[in-house]
Every structure is written in structure tokens, then in C-alpha cells.
Subunit: 302 residues, 2 copies
Amino acid sequence: MSIVVVGSVAYDTVETAQEKRERQLGGSASYFSIAARGRGPVRCVGVVGEDFRDEDLQLLRSHGADTEGIVRTAGKSFHWAGRYHADMIERDTLATELGVFADFQPEIPAAWRDSEYLFLANIHPSLQLHVLDQMTSPGLVALDTMNLWIETKPDELREVLARVDILLVNDGEARQLTGLRSLARAAAAIAELGPKRVIIKKGEHGAIYFGLDSVLAVPALILDDVVDPTGAGDSFAGGFMGALAESGADRHDGDEVFRQAMLDGTVTASFCPEGFSVEGLIALTDEAYARRLQTLRDMMIP
Amino acid sequence: MSIVVVGSVAYDTVETAQEKRERQLGGSASYFSIAARGRGPVRCVGVVGEDFRDEDLQLLRSHGADTEGIVRTAGKSFHWAGRYHADMIERDTLATELGVFADFQPEIPAAWRDSEYLFLANIHPSLQLHVLDQMTSPGLVALDTMNLWIETKPDELREVLARVDILLVNDGEARQLTGLRSLARAAAAIAELGPKRVIIKKGEHGAIYFGLDSVLAVPALILDDVVDPTGAGDSFAGGFMGALAESGADRHDGDEVFRQAMLDGTVTASFCPEGFSVEGLIALTDEAYARRLQTLRDMMIP
């Protein structure tokens, strides 16, 4: 049961109070692919420039991702630079150089179009629509978006949302999209737009799943050290979708399998901020995963 | 098993985008007492001025509080005025008129000094110490404090913390008190100061209990409408301590009973923001409580 992910494959320059790392592997599709941990497997669609290092493609492949859908074109790879505040939550964007990403027209390889799962990472809603149009009949489509598209491309966003099963956004974006303060009301309003399941991501405060007929609030694991929180949301999505692909769930299933997948996303995402770039995810072992899953359950069950 | 609460009994003027209410019953001891729902019972220690309405004392009594410890003196009652932003989280303080509260010297009635439970609401740490000195041997002492005392009275605060079993603070205060970003590390550092159990209150994101050998993260219930969030933290404390008093727990008990009490605090607190002043708490019925407790459990158990 394969997962197609369409998103950015990028280089990030990240500065924290402790350290600065230049042009390290980043991008939503990169985090997602590694976080899925070989389940699916993940078929990765993106674009990189001439500067993109073969070793980074190799790294994705060694973590179970098929990189045949990552096109290399003339120009530079998408580069984001940011500086985190001491709280490791607030951040200032110092540079956004789209490079080859500016002309990204995602083409799904013919052999991938019948994939069962589709994750549309945070890109222009028109591109998300363009991807959906190429897929034959995915059993489950999840979508991430952001305030920029909610503000500037509301019509395109609504058009794509109408064809999506699961929306992943943060609490501010859910409120902005619906104009409703109550997250319960916002989730209900989003269901009217299309996605019958909504996941509200709240960073260190965890995530809430609003399902067909149930709600599950999952706390974030409490970390001793946060090195670089970049990519945690996409890592959550990768763990979540990986768990669904492993179980073979689709949009017709009840909430149960999605509630369990929330735990996978949460545990997986907890490794991401423990290292720069994808280093935290790569350090994830089965044993460490199992320990954190138990810790999470102990934190949740009263 | 009686609970002594020492805190403010006040009048609040609260403004929201929808409405303004002038000089309505407020104060930490008021919210706490009603939220305890007759368990204990609660013995309320505070000071009010000549302007304090008898009907407000009667209201506290009708909800199970003993108001013999509320002294009326010459002057005006403590008055706080604030305006909530549209998000119903941020607020601006428009006025803080201490009135008779400026000279508050809490005296615990002789017959109350052997009470089993003590809740020291957010007042000057020297007054909290003065109260502790009057108690014979409470089986469980919980304390709330704030950034003002952490900044301006660190020595007095540490002196009182050394004699406290449970500290209730928000995440920012826990970090400020310890200088540690990780809440797990902050809770461990606080345990070194005295309180072996720490409750981190996070408002709409819920609360985390750091116990003797376990952690429990409890989400907040998701409300359709927030009318006035003032007093939700003290309502949490009232429900939490009420549950402990009902079960007879003390500092020697393991985490189990405290984990269950977290649910009582959470469910109780969820009623508070649904009305101005204590109106939301007063509207709480056994049936509504039972429904919300079930909703909370369904949100928590994966």
C-alpha cells in the first residue's frame, strides 16, 4: 500500500541560540519520507537543483523512500533560513529562496498514479489540485496547508479541500480558515468543506484528532532537549500516514485505526526536534520508539 | 476532611468583545470554594470591604463554603478590572485596586488550624508562610503563585515552597522559576525545592501532572463558547483538591488518586469560562459533570 508524498525537498539553514547549521537536508517531503519508516513505501515527488547532494537522495532511499519522482533541474534547490528564539518555538525567517521550486509542476510518475495513499504537503493549492488530478483513485488523501494560502488563495484551497479526507493544520490556521474560535466548531466547519477528519497540530501541546464520531487529544512527549524543531509537523504526518498504510486503512474505516495512528505520529515526531535536520529522525530505533510509545500511553491513560 | 483556602475574595470588572460586567464576585478563594462542590468542606479565609454584598457571602455558603474566616474591614474590597482580547486568552489589566487586601494578614480561626488540606492561592509568599505557621499539621498543602512573586520575592517563595507538597503554576512560570525550558526538567527542579508533585496549567491546552513516579497530561475540554475565562485556574484547583479531600488522600499516597483528581479539576474548570464570574460553576450539575467526565475520558484513552 504505497504512499505518494508531494512537497518540498530543500536545504535549510537553521540558527539556534546554541548553533548554526548551513544548507542541511530539509523540506516537508524529506521529513515525511523518513518519518514513515519504510512503511508504504513512500514515493517522493519533488524538485531539486544542481546543488543538491547525491548523498541526500541516497539518505532518503536508505530510509525506504523511492526518489524516482524527485526531478533535478537547472538552478538552485529551495533554500530556507531561519533563526529560533530561545523558547525554541518562535522563529524568524531570514531567507526564502525558492530556486527551482518556483517553477515546480509536480508530475506523478505513471506507475505511481494508482497509489493508495496521498499526502499533499504544504505547497500552493493549485499544485495540490494538479497532483490530485493525476491520481486515479487514492483510498486516503491528507493535506497540509498554511496561513499564506488561507489568506491569498482561498478559492483554490477550498477546491482542493473538497477532495481531501484529512486536513492537518495548526490551531491558528483552523481558526483562520473557518473564522471560528472553538476548535470543535472549526473542525465541524472544515468537515463541511470536505475533510471529514481534522488534525489540529499544537506543537509542544500535542495534537487533536477530530474524527467521524470521536475526538482524541494526544499530548506531545516532553523532551529534555530541543535542538531544532524544524520538520516536526511533517514528521508527525509521516508517522501517522505510515501507520495507516501499514494497517491498510482508508477513508471508509472508523476512527479506531486513525486514533492509533495519532500515537505513531506523535512518537515519531518527538524524535525530530532532538537533532538538526533529519538527524533526530534517523537516530530513531525500534527500541527507543517502543519506550516512547509506552511513555506516551502512561501520560494519556488516567 | 476539611480544606482551608486562603486567597482573594474580590470584585472583578470584566470586559469581553461581547459584554462588560461590573464588580461581580471574583477572587481565587471564591472560585476555589465553589469548584470544590461541598467536598471538604472548604473553610474560606480572606478579607472584604464594607462594599461587599451579603448575598455574595451567602452564595459561597450555599455552595458549601464556610465563610467564618472572611473578615470584613473598613475600606473597599479588592477590585480587578480587565479586558479580554478576541482570542479570549490574552487580556489587559485595566485596574488593580487592592483596597482592604493591601493590609491582609490572614488569620486562621483556631478551630480550623488542624484542617487536613490547605490551598494557598496566589498571594504574597510571606502571607502564605504566615498561614503555614498557623496550621498544626496539614496532610497536604498545595500552592499557587505567579510571575510577580517569582521575580520580586524569590527568597520568600523558596522558603514557602520548601514546606509545600503540590505546586500549581503555568508553563511560563515553571520555566521562569527554574530557568529550565523543558517542563520535565523544570518539574524535577521544583521537586528539589520542596513540592514533590507539580501541576503545570496550560489553559486551553490542558494541564500536566508531574507526580512521584508518573506523568499525566490531561487535555482541556473543548468548549463551544468561552464567555469569561477568569478563575478557570482556581476552579481547577478547587475541583482537584475537592476530589482529594473526598478520597482522603494525603502526601503519602501514590500518584493514582492524584491522577484521578486531575480529571475532576479539568472537568470542573471547564464550566468556569462558560459564564461570567462564578455563573458557569454554579450552572454545573451532576449530570453535566458526568457527561463531561465521559467526554474527557474518550478524548484521552487511545
